[in-house]
C-alpha cells in the first residue's frame, strides 16, 4: 500500500500524520474526533453518540461547524481546524467574548454539551455576526442539551450577536 501522508492545522499548529494500520499511524477508519481526543489530547470536544446526532463533538473546519465523530481524519488533509481549546487568547489566556458570555449568563449546567454548543455558535457568529434569536436556535438545532440550558444559551449567544461591531 502506498504510504499516504496528511497535514492538519489544529488551533494554528501544524501536524503531519501518515495513514496506515501500523503502530502510530492513523488507520483510514479513524475519525477526526478520535484523532483530536486520543492523539492530540484535545479532549475539550466530547464524544457522546458517535453518529452525528448530538453535536457534542463539534469543531470548526474551514469555517464550518462539523461533527468530528462523522468526519474521517484522512479526509481532512490540508484543513484548518479550530477546537474549543483554540478559542481563548493563546498568549494572555483571556477567554473569547462568547466563552465569557456563557459564564456571565450561566449558560450551562453539566457542561458536557457546552464545548459543542460554543463551537456551533462561534461558526454561526463568524458568518453572521448579528444573528437573530431564530437563527441562533436554528443553527443549534443539532446540539443536544438534556440539562435544558437552551434558554440561557440563547441569551449568551444573543448577547455576543448584539454587541458585534457594525
Amino acid at each position: 500500500m502506498k504510504i499516504q501522508e496528511i497535514t492538519l492545522y489544529v488551533n494554528g499548529i501544524q501536524y503531519e500524520f501518515s495513514i496506515g494500520n501500523k503502530f502510530g499511524q492513523i488507520p483510514p477508519g479513524e475519525t477526526l474526533s478520535q484523532t483530536l481526543r486520543n492523539r492530540l489530547g484535545l479532549t475539550g470536544s466530547k464524544e457522546a453518540c458517535g453518529e452525528g446526532a448530538c453535536g457534542c463533538c463539534t469543531v470548526i473546519m474551514e469555517g464550518d461547524a462539523i461533527t468530528s465523530c462523522m468526519t474521517l481524519t484522512v479526509d481532512c488533509d490540508g484543513k484548518h481546524i479550530l477546537t474549543i481549546e483554540g478559542l481563548a487568547d493563546p498568549e494572555t489566556g483571556e477567554l473569547s467574548p462568547l466563552q465569557q458570555a456563557f459564564i456571565d449568563r450561566y449558560a450551562f449546567q453539566c457542561g458536557f454539551c457546552t464545548p459543542g454548543i460554543i463551537m456551533t455558535s462561534k461558526a454561526l457568529l463568524d458568518k453572521n455576526p448579528h444573528s437573530t434569536e431564530e437563527e441562533i436556535k436554528e443553527a443549534l438545532s443539532g446540539n443536544f442539551c438534556r440539562c435544558i440550558s437552551q434558554y440561557h444559551v440563547v441569551q449568551a449567544v444573543s448577547d455576543v450577536a448584539g454587541k458585534a461591531g457594525a
Partner: protein, 770 residues
C-alpha cells in the same frame, strides 16, 4: 418575588450570582475533566458482548479464537465469574450469568489494548443460545404461567423492602383509615386502570462508564461517571465480598438521578482488572446506554379515587405494578417515595389502601431517574384525580390548594414512619404562579378549549399539575471546614471538605458561598475538595434534590463550628464575650471596637490548621413543591401537539442561586419528563422484542429550535430547615409536567386523552379520525 412574611437577608454571596461557578472557566474552555477524558498508564479497554435475545440460556460458548487475538488480554464468561457475586437488591444477578434476561444482557467480557481490538474479539466468540419464552409487560409477568426470570422471585414479583431505607422493616403497602367507608362519603369517584409504561430514556449526554484499578487484595480504586460516589460505593460493596472501593468522580455529563451506582460498569471493569492486573476502562456507547443501561420504571395502576363535594380527596384504593425491567436495583426505595409523594398531593385524605408490586420483565433494566417513583405514579394517578375534579366541575388549581400538604399534615414516608409537615405552606406559591400564567382567564372549564382557530382546525387548552417530595432532607451527611493560614502574609483560606460531585447543579460552588458567607471571607479564598470517598467525610451526593438542605446544613454547621472555635480562641485577645465578636478580614474583631482585632493566623498555632465539623441527620418533614401550568396547541387534522407556554412555580425558601434555580425549573423539560406526554418513549418491536428506539436518531427528543416559552414564578420564604432557610428543588421540576400536558390536551380537544405519550396517532384516535 417574596411571600409576605419573608424579609430578604443581604448575604454577601448566597442569593446572588455575583461570582461564577468555580468550574465555569474550565467548562467553557473545554478543560473540565469528564471520565472519558481521563486515562491511566497501561489502561485497557473493556467491552461487552451482549445477548441478541430477550430471554435465553447460554448452551455453549467458545472464546478460544477471541483469546488468541493480538492485543486481547482477557475474555471472561459466566464460567469465570463467581455466581454468588450478585448485583441488585435483593442480590439477584451475577455479573455474568448463563441465564440471559434481556436484549443486551452481558454474555462475555473482553479486555484489550484498544476498543477496535476488543470489538473484533467479540465477533470471534461463538455462542449457542437456547431461546426461552419471554414476557415484556408488567401485568402479564405476574400472571400464573408467565415465563420466570429469577428463581428468587416467584411470579416475577420482587421481594419488597429496601433495608437501608426502611430500618423498621419493609414498607410497600400503605393502609390507613377505612377506604370503603371513605368512598361512601365521596361525591365523585373515578376508577380505572391507567399506565405510564413506555419506560422513556433519561438520556444523559455522557454515557455511563467507569475506570477500575484493582490494588490487590480487597482494594479497588474506582473513577466513575456517578453523580454520587458514596452511593456507588455502598451499592457495589456487597457484590464482591469484603471489597473496599475508593471512589473518585470528575465532572459528570448529566445524570438526572440515573448515573449513580453503575453496578455493571464498575463490576465488569473490576473483574477485568483483577484478571489482567491492569486498570480497565468500561465506557458505554450511546446505543448501550439507550438499550442496556437503566431507563425509567414502567408504571401500571388500577386505582379508585374519591373526592367529597368540596373537592377534597377522601379515599384512595390502588394497586401499583412497577416494571423494573430485567433487574431490580433497590427499586423498593422508589416505590416507598412514590407512595409518599402520592400522599403529599392528597394530604387531607384519611383513607388509603395503596398496594404495590415490583415485577421483573424481559426488558432492559429500569432504575432511578429524576422523579424517583413519584413521577411515575403521579403521571398515572393524576389522570384519575382529573376525572374526579371534572365530575365535580372543580377548577384544578382550587382543588390543589385544598389537597396539597401543608404545616401539620401527617404522611408516611419511604422509611415507613409517620412524619408531620413542618413550616411549609404553598398556597401563595400556587396563586403567584397561576397569576403569572393567566390561569383565571385561560381556564374555561373541563373539556373546553381556551382558543379555537377560525377554521376550527387548531385548538388550545390549558392544564396544571403539582408534585412535591420530602426526600430533600434524606440521608445523614457530614462536612469539615478547615481554616488554613496562608504561609505568606496574614490572610488565610478555607478548605471545605465534603463529598459532592458536580453533575450540573452548581452546588459545589453554592456550598462554598455558604462557607464564605458564614466566615465572612472572599469566595475565591474558599476551596472545596474533589469528590472522593477516601478523603472526604460521608455524603450521599446530590440525589433526591437533597443538596440544599442536607449539605447546606452540614456545611453551614461546620463553618459555624470553626467560627465558634475562633471566638473561643479570641477571648484572651479581645477580652469580650463571643456574642460581642465578629469575623472580618481573616480575623476576629470586636463588634463595638473597630480597633480590637486579632488575625486567625495569630489564633491558630504555627503550622497547624483549625477545623470545624458539621452534620445533617435525615429528616423528611419539609416537603418541597412544584406547580406547572402549560398551554398546548393541537392540530386536529394532523394530531400534532405543541406546548406553547409553560410557567413553573414554587416557593424555594431562601433562594441560594437565582440563575441555577431557574435552570433547574427548565430542566423539567428534559430527562424523560415533559415530553413523555408528547413523544418520548421506548418502542419495542412486538415480534422480536428488540428496542427500535436504540439510538438518538430513532428516539425522539426536543431539538433546540422547538422550545416553548417558559417563565418561572419563584417565591421566597423562610422555612425552618437549616441556617439558610431554603429547600431543595431540582428533581420535581418536570415531574408533574406530563400529567398537566394530558389535562391540557384533553381540554383542547374536548375528549379525555390518557395514553402516554399522546402522539398524533393517539390524538387522532381520540378524535375518532382513525
Amino acid at each position: 418575588m417574596y411571600s409576605d412574611d419573608f424579609k430578604p437577608e443581604n448575604y454577601r454571596y448566597v442569593g446572588k450570582n455575583a461570582v461564577p461557578r468555580k468550574d465555569a472557566a474550565a467548562i467553557v474552555a473545554g478543560k473540565a475533566t469528564f471520565l472519558d477524558d481521563f486515562s491511566l498508564p497501561g489502561m485497557l479497554i473493556g467491552y461487552t458482548l451482549r445477548s441478541p435475545h430477550p430471554h435465553a440460556m447460554i448452551q455453549s460458548i467458545d472464546v478460544d479464537d477471541a483469546k488468541k487475538m493480538n492485543g486481547v488480554m482477557a475474555v471472561l464468561t459466566y464460567r469465570d465469574v463467581d455466581q454468588e457475586w450478585k448485583m441488585g437488591w435483593p442480590p439477584q444477578k451475577p455479573i455474568l450469568c448463563r441465564h440471559l434476561r434481556y436484549i443486551g444482557d452481558p454474555v462475555a467480557l473482553i479486555a484489550a489494548t484498544d476498543l477496535e481490538t476488543a470489538r473484533a474479539a467479540a465477533e470471534k466468540i461463538q455462542v449457542e443460545y437456547e431461546i426461552l419464552p419471554c414476557v415484556t409487560d408488567g401485568m402479564e409477568a405476574i400472571k400464573d404461567g408467565a415465563p420466570q426470570l429469577y428463581e428468587e422471585f416467584p411470579n416475577n414479583v420482587v421481594t419488597p423492602g429496601y433495608p437501608p431505607f426502611q430500618k423498621d422493616g419493609p414498607f410497600w403497602h400503605l393502609i390507613k383509615g377505612d377506604p370503603e367507608k371513605g368512598f361512601e362519603e365521596c361525591a365523585y369517584i373515578a376508577e380505572d386502570t391507567v399506565e405510564f409504561a413506555k419506560m422513556p430514556a433519561p438520556l444523559a449526554p455522557e454515557p455511563p462508564g467507569a475506570v477500575v484499578r484493582w490494588e490487590g487484595g480487597d482494594d479497588f480504586t474506582v473513577w466513575g461517571t456517578s453523580q454520587s460516589g458514596y452511593i456507588l460505593k455502598i451499592i457495589n460493596s456487597s457484590v464482591i465480598p469484603n471489597c473496599n472501593l475508593d471512589v473518585h468522580t470528575f465532572n459528570v455529563g448529566g445524570s438526572y438521578g440515573n448515573k449513580q451506582s453503575l453496578g455493571y460498569q464498575v463490576m465488569s471493569a473490576a473483574l477485568l482488572s483483577m484478571r489482567t492486573g491492569k486498570p480497565v476502562k468500561v465506557f458505554q456507547t450511546k446505543v448501550e446506554q439507550m438499550t442496556a443501561f437503566e431507563t425509567r420504571l414502567g408504571s401500571q395502576v388500577h386505582a379508585k379515587i374519591g373526592m367529597d363535594k368540596d373537592g377534597v380527596v377522601k379515599a384512595v384504593k390502588a394497586e401499583w405494578v412497577v416494571d423494573t425491567g430485567a433487574f431490580c436495583n433497590a427499586t423498593q426505595g422508589q416505590v416507598g417515595v412514590g407512595i409518599g409523594e402520592a400522599q403529599l398531593v392528597m394530604a387531607k385524605c384519611p383513607n388509603w389502601d395503596l398496594d404495590t408490586n415490583i415485577v421483573v420483565t424481559n426488558k432492559q433494566p429500569a432504575g432511578i431517574v429524576r422523579g424517583y417513583g413519584g413521577q411515575e405514579l403521579n403521571s398515572c394517578l393524576f389522570l384519575l384525580i382529573g376525572r374526579t375534579m371534572q365530575a365535580g366541575n372543580f377548577d384544578p388549581l382550587e382543588c390543589y390548594k385544598k389537597n396539597y400538604v401543608s404545616d401539620g399534615d401527617l404522611y408516611t414516608w419511604r422509611d415507613g414512619r409517620t412524619w408531620q409537615a413542618h413550616s411549609i405552606n404553598y398556597v401563595k406559591a400556587m396563586d403567584a404562579a397561576a397569576e403569572k400564567f393567566g390561569w383565571k382567564d385561560k381556564w374555561k372549564g373541563w373539556g373546553v378549549p381556551t382558543w379555537v382557530s377560525e377554521d376550527g382546525r387548531k385548538v388550545r387548552g390549558v392544564g396544571c399539575g403539582i408534585i412535591g417530595n420530602a426526600d430533600i432532607g434524606e440521608d445523614n451527611t457530614e462536612a469539615y471546614v478547615r481554616i488554613v493560614p496562608d504561609l505568606v502574609g496574614n490572610k488565610a483560606h478555607a478548605v471545605l471538605q465534603c463529598n459532592v460531585t458536580e453533575s450540573g447543579m452548581g452546588q459545589r460552588s453554592n456550598l462554598v458561598k455558604m462557607v464564605a458567607d458564614i466566615l465572612n471571607m472572599p469566595y475565591e479564598k474558599v476551596e472545596i475538595t474533589p469528590a472522593d470517598t477516601g478523603i472526604n467525610p460521608t455524603g450521599f451526593g446530590l440525589c433526591g434534590s437533597r443538596g440544599t438542605i442536607t449539605y447546606g446544613h452540614a456545611v453551614s454547621s461546620a463553618a459555624e463550628d470553626v467560627k465558634k472555635k475562633l471566638f473561643d480562641l479570641a477571648v484572651p485577645y479581645l477580652e469580650v464575650a463571643a456574642d460581642a465578636m465578629e469575623l472580618r478580614d481573616y480575623g476576629v474583631g470586636c463588634k463595638a471596637r473597630p480597633d480590637k482585632f486579632v488575625t486567625w493566623k495569630k489564633l491558630i498555632m504555627q503550622d497547624l490548621t483549625l477545623t470545624g465539623y458539621g452534620q445533617h441527620i435525615e429528616n423528611f418533614s419539609t416537603p418541597n413543591f412544584f406547580i406547572v401550568f402549560l398551554e398546548v396547541e393541537v392540530d386536529k387534522e394532523t394530531g400534532r401537539v405543541e406546548v406553547k407556554k409553560m410557567v413553573g412555580g414554587t416557593d424555594a425558601g431562601q433562594v441560594i442561586d437565582p440563575l441555577m434555580i431557574e435552570m433547574q425549573c427548565h430542566g423539567g423539560i428534559g430527562s424523560a419528563s415533559l415530553d413523555t406526554a408528547l413523544y418520548e418513549e421506548h418502542i419495542i418491536d412486538p415480534a422480536t422484542k428488540r428496542p427500535l428506539t436504540y439510538n438518538m436518531i430513532e428516539y425522539k427528543w426536543r431539538p433546540f429550535n422547538n422550545f416553548p416559552e417558559y417563565e418561572t414564578s419563584i417565591l421566597e420564604s423562610q422555612f425552618d430547615t437549616f441556617q439558610f432557610k431554603a429547600v431543595g428543588l431540582g428533581e420535581i421540576a418536570g415531574a408533574a409536567a406530563a400529567s398537566a400536558t394530558m389535562q391540557a390536551i384533553s381540554n383542547a380537544i374536548g375528549v379525555s386523552v390518557s395514553t402516554y405519550p399522546a402522539t398524533p396517532d393517539v390524538i387522532l384516535k381520540a378524535l375518532g379520525k382513525v
